[in-house]
C-alpha cells in the first residue's frame, strides 16, 4: 500500500509518541526497556496491518505496537503499573506483553525465542482457517541465536506459512555486541538456509522498512510463504533504565545519534513539504498531552487485589458453562 501524506505524518507521530513515552514512563517506573533509536523499525514494521493479522512484537516496542493496534494508552500504562484495570488485571507485566484482544501475541513468559514459534502457530492457524491473514513477528538480534528461531522459521518455510519475520537488530543483547554473537553479516543471510527470501534493510529508515515488510506481507497473503527481514538499527539507550553501559564507547553512541531515525524522518518530511517546524511542535505537544492524560488516568486506577489473584481461575471453563453464568 502506497503511503499518503497522512500516513507519513501518522508514522512520524507514532515515532514521536514512542520516544516521548519512553521519557515519561522512565520517570514513573524503574527498569523500563526504552525503544529510543528503534522507533523507525517498530513503526515501519507494524504500520498498516489488518485488524485480523496477528502481530508478535519484540518486547522492546511492545507497548508502542499495542497502541498502534488500538489499545487505549491509559490501560497499557495501568498494565505497566500492575493496576487491576490493566489488560492482564495485574497478572502479568504489561511492559513486555501486549493484549491478545488486539490480535497481539506477546511474551507470555520472560523467555526470548518462543514468541517466534507462537507467531508461526498464528500463521499456521491463518493458513488452516484460510483467512488470508498473516502473522508479523519481530525479535531482537540476540533472539536470533535461540534454537526457536531455527525451528520456527524452518517450519514456516516448509509449510509455506503466511508469516513475516523481522529481526530488530539493535546490535546489542544486553551488553553483548552483535559482532560477538553472529559470524554472518546480517541475520537475513540465514534465509538462504531456509530457502526463503532474506532482505536486509536500514532499520532507521521508516519508509524502507515499511516497504520491505509490506512486500513480504503481500507475498505471504498470496500463499508464497515467509520472508526473513533484518532491520539494522541501534539501541541509543541502555538495555534498561539505569544501565551504566560499561560495555560500549560513548563515541559509538554519538555516531549513531547522528543516524537517529526521528530527526532523519523529520528532515525528510520537511524536505518533502509534508511537515513544518511548527507542525512538529504541535505534534510534540499533543503527544505529550496524550501521554500525561494516560499516565494520570492509570495513576488513579486501583491496584490489583485478591479478586485479580484468581485462585479459581487457572483453567478456562467450558464455553457453554461460561455462557450460562
Amino acid at each position: 500500500m502506497l503511503l499518503e501524506n497522512d500516513d507519513l505524518l501518522s508514522m512520524y507521530r507514532l515515532m514521536m509518541l514512542g520516544r516521548t513515552f519512553d521519557q515519561e514512563i522512565t520517570k514513573k517506573k524503574g527498569g523500563w526497556h526504552a525503544t529510543e533509536g528503534e522507533e523507525a523499525t517498530i513503526v515501519g514494521t507494524f504500520y498498516n496491518l489488518k485488524k485480523d493479522d496477528v502481530v508478535v512484537p519484540h518486547y522492546r516496542g511492545s507497548v508502542l505496537v499495542s497502541y498502534m493496534r488500538g489499545a487505549p494508552l491509559w490501560r497499557l500504562v495501568a498494565g505497566i503499573m500492575g493496576k487491576a484495570t490493566g489488560f492482564t488485571r495485574g497478572r502479568y507485566r504489561g511492559d513486555l506483553c501486549g493484549p491478545v484482544e488486539f490480535n497481539i501475541i506477546g511474551m507470555i513468559s520472560g523467555t526470548l525465542g518462543p514468541t517466534i514459534s507462537l507467531g508461526t502457530g498464528a500463521a499456521l492457524a491463518a493458513k488452516l482457517k484460510k483467512t488470508n491473514n498473516v502473522a508479523v513477528v519481530s525479535f531482537g538480534d540476540g533472539t536470533s541465536n535461540r534454537g526457536e528461531f531455527h525451528e520456527a522459521i524452518n517450519l514456516a518455510a516448509v509449510l509455506d506459512l503466511p508469516a513475516v519475520f523481522i529481526c530488530q537488530n539493535n546490535q546489542y543483547s544486553i551488553s553483548t555486541h552483535v559482532s560477538k554473537a553472529l559470524r554472518c553479516n546480517s541475520v537475513a543471510d540465514r534465509a538462504v538456509g531456509y530457502g526463503i527470501p532474506g532482505i536486509e534493510v536500514d532499520g532507521n529508515d521508516v519508509m524502507e522498512i515499511y516497504t520491505a515488510v509490506q512486500e513480504s506481507v503481500k507475498r505471504a497473503r498470496e500463499g508464497d510463504g515467509p520472508t526473513l527481514i533484518e532491520a539494522k538499527t541501534y539501541r541509543l539507550g541502555g538495555h534498561m533504565a539505569g544501565d551504566p553501559e560499561l560495555y560500549r564507547q560513548k563515541q559509538e553512541v554519538e555516531k549513531w545519534k547522528k543516524k537517529d531515525p526521528l530527526p532523519r524522518f523529520k528532515k525528510k518530511l520537511i524536505d518533502m513539504g509534508v511537515l513544518t517546524e511548527n507542525k512538529v511542535q504541535e505534534i510534540q505537544k499533543a503527544v505529550k498531552e496524550e501521554i500525561f492524560v494516560a499516565i494520570r488516568m492509570a495513576d488513579e486506577q486501583p491496584f490489583a487485589g485478591e479478586k485479580e489473584l484468581g485462585i479459581d481461575d487457572i483453567f478456562a471453563p467450558a464455553k457453554g458453562k461460561r455462557e450460562e453464568k
Binding site: 491478545v100 514459534s117 498464528a122
Partner: protein, 325 residues
C-alpha cells in the same frame, strides 16, 4: 460392542472427534503413511491426509508444541504428538511457561485448547521409557492425564480434545498393544479430574496410575485369597487431582499405599501422600508407604530393569507393611 486395544481406542477417539469438530488438527512426526510411532495414528492419514487436518513436521519438538499453542490461541484445536515422554524436556518451556499461563495471564481473553500426546513407560520395545509426568504437576494451568485401560483411554482422549485447556496426555507403551476391552458403540466421554475405583476393598487403599493399576489389581486379587481386601484407586487424571475419591477411600480403609513408575523423590505419589496426611491424618492407622523405582536413572539391562520397576511383589510387600502397623 467391539473389543479394542488401548491404541485402537485412542485412534477411534481421534477419528470421532476429527469428524465432530473441523477445528481439530493433528500435528506430529511420521504421523502420515507411517501411521505414527507404535501406530499411534494408524488409519487416520488414509482418512484425513494429506490435508490441513494432519500436518507432518520436521524433527522440531520445540516449535511443534509452541506453534500449536499459538494456533490454539487463534481458535484452532491442535492435537500434537511429542513422540516420546523422553522428549518432553525439549518442550517444557512451551508447556510450563506458555500454554499453562495463557488463560490466566490474558485474564480470560485467550485459551489453549491443545492436547499433547506422548508415549512413555517401560514397554515391550523398552526404548524411550522416561516418565516425567511429576514435573508437570507443579505447574498451575496444566491438565495431566494417564489412562490405564482402552475404555478410559478413549473416553479421556475425547474429553481432553474438548477441553479448553492444555492437556498433557500420557500413553503407556506397555498397555498400547495389550489386552483388549469392550468399547461401547455409542458415544461416551470420561470427565477429566475424576479418579476411578478399579476395585473395592476395606483394608488398604492403593493409589496407582497406568501399568501400576494392573499390577496393583493383580496384587489385590492374590491378597484377597488371604482375606486382605485392597481398594485400587486409578487416578486417571493427575492434574487436577481427584482429591475427593482418594480421601473417601483412605477414610474408609485407614491405610494408604501409593505406587508409580516414576521416582519417589519429587514424584506425584508424594503429592498424594502429602494431601492425605494434610487433610485426613487422623484417619490413618499406619504410616503411608510409597512404592517407586530406586533413585537411579532407568537402567537398560533386562535384569536391572526388573529391579527398577515396581512389580506385583513389591506392591504386595508394601500392602503387608501398612497392614502390620
Amino acid at each position: 460392542m467391539k473389543r479394542l486395544t488401548y491404541q485402537e481406542a485412542l485412534v477411534q477417539a481421534l477419528r470421532e472427534e476429527m469428524h465432530r469438530d473441523e477445528s481439530i488438527f493433528l500435528l506430529g512426526q511420521d504421523i502420515g503413511v507411517f501411521g505414527g510411532s507404535l501406530k499411534s495414528f494408524k488409519g487416520l492419514w488414509e482418512e484425513f491426509g494429506p490435508t490441513d487436518r494432519m500436518i507432518e513436521t520436521p524433527l522440531s519438538e520445540s516449535v511443534m508444541v509452541e506453534a500449536c499453542v499459538g494456533a490454539a490461541m487463534m481458535g484452532m484445536r491442535p492435537v500434537v504428538q511429542v513422540k516420546f515422554g523422553e522428549f518432553l524436556p525439549l518442550v517444557m518451556h512451551s508447556i510450563a511457561c506458555d500454554a499453562s499461563c495463557v488463560w490466566y495471564y490474558s485474564a480470560g481473553k485467550a485459551r489453549v485448547p491443545m492436547v499433547l500426546r506422548t508415549l512413555f513407560g517401560i514397554g515391550p520395545h523398552r526404548g524411550h521409557p522416561q516418565d516425567y509426568h511429576s514435573w508437570l504437576l507443579n505447574v498451575p494451568g496444566l491438565k495431566v492425564v494417564m489412562p490405564s485401560t482402552p475404555y478410559d483411554a478413549k473416553g479421556l482422549m475425547k474429553s481432553a480434545i474438548r477441553d479448553d485447556n492444555p492437556v498433557i496426555f500420557f500413553e503407556h507403551m506397555r498397555l498400547y498393544h495389550g489386552s483388549r476391552q469392550e468399547i461401547p458403540e455409542e458415544e461416551y466421554t470420561i470427565p477429566l479430574g475424576l479418579a476411578d475405583v478399579k476395585r473395592e476393598g476395606n483394608d488398604v487403599t492403593v493409589v496407582a496410575t497406568a501399568v501400576m493399576v494392573h499390577r496393583a489389581l493383580d496384587a489385590a486379587e492374590n491378597l484377597s485369597r488371604e482375606g486382605i481386601e485392597v481398594e485400587v484407586v486409578d487416578l486417571r487424571t493427575l492434574a487436577p487431582m481427584d482429591k475427593a475419591t482418594v480421601l473417601a477411600s483412605v477414610k474408609k480403609t485407614g491405610r494408604l499405599v501409593v505406587v508409580h513408575e516414576t521416582w519417589k523423590i519429587g514424584g506425584s505419589g508424594g503429592e498424594v501422600s502429602a494431601m492425605v496426611a494434610e487433610e485426613i491424618f487422623e484417619y490413618l492407622k499406619a504410616p503411608i508407604v510409597r512404592v517407586a523405582p530406586p533413585h537411579v536413572p532407568i537402567p537398560f539391562s533386562l535384569p536391572l530393569e526388573k529391579m527398577f520397576v515396581p512389580d506385583e511383589q513389591k506392591i504386595k510387600e508394601a500392602i503387608r507393611t501398612v497392614l502390620a502397623k
